[in-house]
C-alpha cells in the first residue's frame, strides 16, 4: 500500500508545475490550463487526506471544486473569446490596456 505522504508529494509537485506554467507562459489559454492543474493538485490532496482521516468531506469538497472549475472554465473561456475578438491576441503581455 502507498502511504498518504506519497500522494501529498505528488500533489505538491503538480501544484509547483502549475505555478511554473503560469509564470513562464504568456499564452492565456495555457495559463488557464496551468490554473486548472493547480486545482487538480489540490483535489488530489483533499482525496488523499480524506482517506487518511476516513471522512467523506474531502471528496465532497472535490465535488464542489469540480463544479466551480466548470463554471470558471465556461466564464474564463468566454472572456478569452471576447478578448480575442477585440484585440486579436491571446498573449497576456499584449493585453495592457489597463496598465498604468
Amino acid at each position: 500500500m502507498t502511504p498518504i505522504i506519497d500522494y501529498m508529494a505528488l500533489s505538491a509537485v503538480l501544484f509547483a508545475i502549475g505555478v511554473i506554467g503560469v509564470l513562464i507562459r504568456r499564452n492565456v489559454i495555457v495559463m488557464f490550463l496551468a490554473i486548472e492543474l493547480m486545482l487538480n493538485a489540490v483535489n488530489l490532496a483533499f482525496v488523499a487526506l480524506g482517506r487518511r482521516i476516513g471522512s467523506m468531506d474531502g471528496q465532497v469538497i472535490v465535488f464542489f471544486v469540480m463544479t466551480v472549475a466548470a463554471a470558471e472554465a465556461a466564464v474564463g473561456l468566454a472572456i478569452i473569446i471576447s478578448m480575442f475578438r477585440n484585440r486579436e491576441t491571446v498573449n497576456a503581455d499584449e493585453l495592457n490596456l489597463l496598465r498604468w
Binding site: 505528488l10 489559454i29 472535490v62
Partner: protein
C-alpha cells in the same frame, strides 16, 4: 494501490503536467492536461474515491477539456512561441526556482506529519455513490443547492460575454490593435 502502480501513475502525471506547460502547440497542451486528468481520476479510484474518480473523468475530460479544444478551434490560434518570448529569462528562472522552493517547502511540511506515513484501511462503502450522495444531501445540502445557482449564473455570464453585440465593440475596435503581424496580415486578407 500497490507501490509500483502508484509510481507509474505519478510519473505519468508529472510527464503530462510538464507537457501541458512546455508544449508549443495548444492542442498538445490540452491533450497533455487530459492525460493528467485521466491519471488523477485513476489515482482517486485507487484511493477509494470511486465516484469522484469517475466524475473527474466525465466532467473534466468529457466536458471541460472539450470546451478548451472547442475554443482553440474557434479562435484558430496558431502555435505560439512556447516558453520563449514574454518575460525575460532571468524572471522565468526566478519563477521556476520559486515554484521548486514552494514544492520543497510543502514536502518538508508533509514529512513532519508522522501520521501521513500510516496506512489505514477503509470500509468498502467508502467513496461509493450512496455514501457520497448521503453526505452531499444532508450536511452539504445548502452548498449543493447553491452550486446550481452558480452554474446558472455562469451559463448566463458566459453567453453574455461571448455574444457579439451590435455596436458594442466599436469603441474598443477604434483603439490601435497592438497585435502581431499575423493579425495585420489577416486584416489585409479580409480587405
Amino acid at each position: 494501490m500497490p507501490q509500483w502502480l502508484f509510481a507509474f501513475l505519478a510519473a505519468l502525471a508529472i510527464i503530462g503536467a510538464l507537457g501541458t506547460i512546455l508544449q508549443r502547440n495548444l492542442i498538445h497542451c490540452v491533450l497533455g492536461f487530459a492525460l493528467v486528468l485521466i491519471d488523477l481520476g485513476v489515482l482517486f479510484m485507487g484511493l477509494g474515491a470511486v465516484t469522484v474518480g469517475f466524475l473527474q473523468i466525465i466532467v473534466y475530460v468529457g466536458a471541460i477539456m472539450v470546451l478548451f479544444l472547442f475554443v482553440i478551434w474557434l479562435l484558430n490560434v496558431q502555435a505560439d512561441t512556447g516558453v520563449r518570448g514574454g518575460a525575460s529569462l532571468g524572471l522565468k528562472l526566478l519563477g521556476a526556482i520559486a515554484a521548486a522552493a514552494l514544492a520543497a517547502e510543502l514536502f518538508v511540511i508533509f514529512s513532519h506529519a508522522p501520521k501521513l506515513r500510516e496506512v489505514r484501511t477503509i470500509a468498502p462503502s467508502f467513496g461509493s455513490v450512496a455514501t457520497l450522495a448521503h453526505v452531499l444531501f444532508s450536511r452539504y445540502l445548502i452548498a449543493f443547492e447553491t452550486t446550481s445557482l452558480l452554474l446558472l449564473a455562469s451559463i448566463v455570464g458566459a453567453v453574455a460575454l461571448a455574444r457579439r453585440l451590435a455596436g458594442q465593440s466599436a469603441a474598443i475596435a477604434a483603439l490601435p490593435p497592438r497585435s502581431s503581424a499575423r493579425a495585420a496580415e489577416a486584416r489585409r486578407e479580409v480587405a
